[in-house]
Amino acid sequence: MDGCSVLIGGKAGSGINRAGQTIARMFTQLGYYAYMHYDYPSLIRGGHNFSLIRASTYPVGTHRSGIDILLAMDSPTLSLHRHHCKRDALVIYNSDTVRSDTGSAIPLKSIVARNDGMHVMENTAMIGALASAIGMDWDDCGYVISQEMRKFTQKNLAIARDAFRMQSEKKELKRLSQSPGILLSGNDAVSLGLLSAGLDGYIAYPMSPSTGILHFMADASGETGIQVFQPESEIAAITMAEGMAYAGAKAAVGTSGGGFCLMTEALSMAGMAEIPITIVLAQRSGPSTGTPTYTAQSDLHFAIHAGHGEFPRFVIAPGDAEQAYVWAGHALSLSWQFQVPSILLTDNTLSEGVYTVPPDMLQKRIPASRPVSVHLWEGTEEYQRYRDTEDGISPYASPPLFGAVIKGNSKSHDEWGISVDDGMQLASMTRKQMKKIPSMKDSVSQLKPVLIGGNPDSDICLISWGSNAPLCREAAQVMGIKSVQPIVVHPFPASEMTAATCCSVMTFLLEDNYSGQLADICEAHGIPVDIRLPRFDGRPSAIDQLIEDLWGLVG
């Protein structure tokens, strides 16, 4: 095999996510690009969880439904996923609890018992069997296990080794000489990106699928000195973060749709008071509480229009871990450069999916810890927090600053920050804020906000955004058509999008919502969308299914 799709399934609480990540790491150890999708219902124990891990010779950010190797920790895994398997698929099952006429029987429970291990280590045994099946050296397998399982390493190694010896059926994956990169979840990547742009504080109330960022940041706080805090509500989270920003600290918050809903009053305040703040909005299926652990891209319009009144903002939707890293940093820096809120729009697929990222890209992209272009007060004349300038960006200052009085204001105000309701002043302050928009668009243009992939000369165009972008990029590559991804969605990169799509005779747009939210935006900007491909069952599309559907449509 020169690529591989593995599914490992079992009960919630049996370490399926962890196992999936370890398997992904085995694939990168063998020189492959790995991608993992993790599927779990919103419960802690029981229920069915599975991880889909894909190894490929080129970068991928999506799963494939034809499974090569099925790892069944329990019977439901076998019954639920057998029909997703390729005809020649290898099945490895836990013969202590699962009955099957075909496949490799590995007695996970007995192996664990023999080694005096804990129940959850059955997944280690399964991983050992898989390593053997794909023809990995024991040394490689042992290395990955000792890296991924820092607790009870010896016991885990012994368990994996037993299963490794027992597995005789093979489905070998040849070792590649390249070493493509390290594994990052979307949430890891967002966290690193924010840190790379000099984040000082992260305040969040737990909400799937953004919670991984809170945990990452809490772990990182000791070494980076950033302030990480979980307050009483999402309202508290964003207002505290804005308090930090008023005091000069770069702060971000993370949440999902429901929490973002609560944050909108403070979002408007950030607009009026010109407070830089970055909000990570990790979309999940809604409305309301919706389906907490399944994906959606249905908050696009909400992100763009949230809050009362009118004010400029950035809405940025990266598609994979690499983009999440780069653009989380951009979001924070742009916010500070323009003193406007920025919303980093991710989704469940991206947040919790695991991607392969080249480490040198991460190193190269670490910018200065503060954006050079933050306007600062020179101290030569009286400080005006909201001074009207040519580009609408006032000098930023935070207390304590000798000789200056810094007045941030959520109400209509004059240049000093004193409340006013005089019509002339209202109009001039609104104009001052809106003057930022042209330069915001310029800055976005310089960052290449639209990514073109596949065959750029094709007159068939597949548009997508967020986590669907790597999927569509790959589909376009395979089909010889063009893929287009707007990474910045607001202010909409209209000229770049028009240039990218103007030669198309047929345009598709795939997104995980019912109404076609990006399609509406494209059409509002004169970019016709011929066929909308909505998906709203909370599940991400698989590459092979998408290609099949598209062939059907293209004819």
Partner: protein
């Protein structure tokens, strides 16, 4: 803007409003702090929304004119970012005891180092006379002409129950006492809240009652929690009984701080962390 402590913004409080007295008291306390070496730029005033909030426009100090109910929360963020600042919140009773009650209680629970002055006029003034959590049972505002809101909230009692480390009650017509309470609150290390009975000249002028009811207990020991509980129950924001003024409770306990103090950092910058993270994942 003037160089003094009062801006040249036009003052729009009603004549006779208790806010003037609180403003003067706060101004004098700031002058006193300055004379004791606190630089003016180290003082930040955070306000909510309501009549009280105009304080941000009128006092010539750093300020954040925040949102209804959220002043304490914004102030917490400022304290997290700059623990060296003197953060003072002016909030209203409708503002902090209704919409913002959670933030107030949590800041008290955490012992965030700030001082909250509640302009407690027991009525929504700026929206023209509706009932607030501390309105008297008999109060019929424009939103409850026939009904009653139920018994009034006793904020100092509530604050005591969540571990507030400094609670005092002041009265807008007792200037000297009020200044002392505000000053003590600001220098108190940790969270301090001063519930200031304030008259609203336009909607709930309780000058006569308050003048008769208030007194300063002579033998109260603010270090004694049980005595503090008994004292706050003496006045339930309902009856016409006596209203004790002064410090109700006072203790010193650990101040809230989050994350890891800078002194414990093993890496001096975020870049170092990212590089090390990459190495570990390889």
């Amino acid at each position: 803007m003037t160089k003094g402590l009062i801006t040249d913004a036009q003052n729009t409080w009603c004549p006779g409003c208790g806010n003037f007295a609180i403003q003067h008291a706060l101004k004098d306390v700031i002058l006193r702090l300055e004379s004791e070496g606190v630089p003016r730029e180290n003082i930040v005033l955070v306000v909510g929304i309501g009549c009280h909030a105009k304080m941000a426009d009128y006092l010539n100090v750093n300020s954040l004119y925040a949102l209804h109910g959220r002043a304490v929360s914004f102030a917490t963020g400022i304290c997290i970012a700059r623990p060296d600042l003197f953060v003072i919140c002016c909030v209203g009773d409708g503002d902090a005891y209704a919409e913002g009650i959670a933030h107030l209680l949590f800041a008290a629970k955490r012992n965030v180092n700030m001082t909250v002055l509640v302009h407690n006029n027991r009525v929504y003034g700026l929206t023209k006379g509706q009932v607030t959590p501390t309105s008297p049972l008999e109060y019929h505002g424009k939103s409850n002409p026939d009904s009653r809101e139920g018994i009034a909230l006793n904020p100092p009692e509530l604050l005591l129950s969540v571990g507030c480390s400094y609670i005092a009650r002041g009265y807008s017509r007792r200037q000297e006492e009020l200044k002392g309470l505000i000053y003590d609150g600001i220098v108190h290390p940790g969270f301090s809240c001063i519930d200031i009975l304030q008259i609203c000249a336009s909607f709930l002028d309780k000058t006569k009652e308050y003048d008769r009811q208030v007194y300063v207990p002579l033998d109260h020991n603010p270090e004694d929690f049980d005595a503090a509980c008994r004292l706050v129950r003496e006045y339930s924001y309902e009856d016409s009984g006596n209203i004790p003024l002064g410090v109700v409770f006072h203790e010193e306990r650990d101040i809230f701080h989050v994350g890891t103090p800078f002194s414990r950092q093993r890496y001096t910058d975020k870049k170092g962390f990212i590089l090390r993270f990459i190495e570990e994942r390889k």
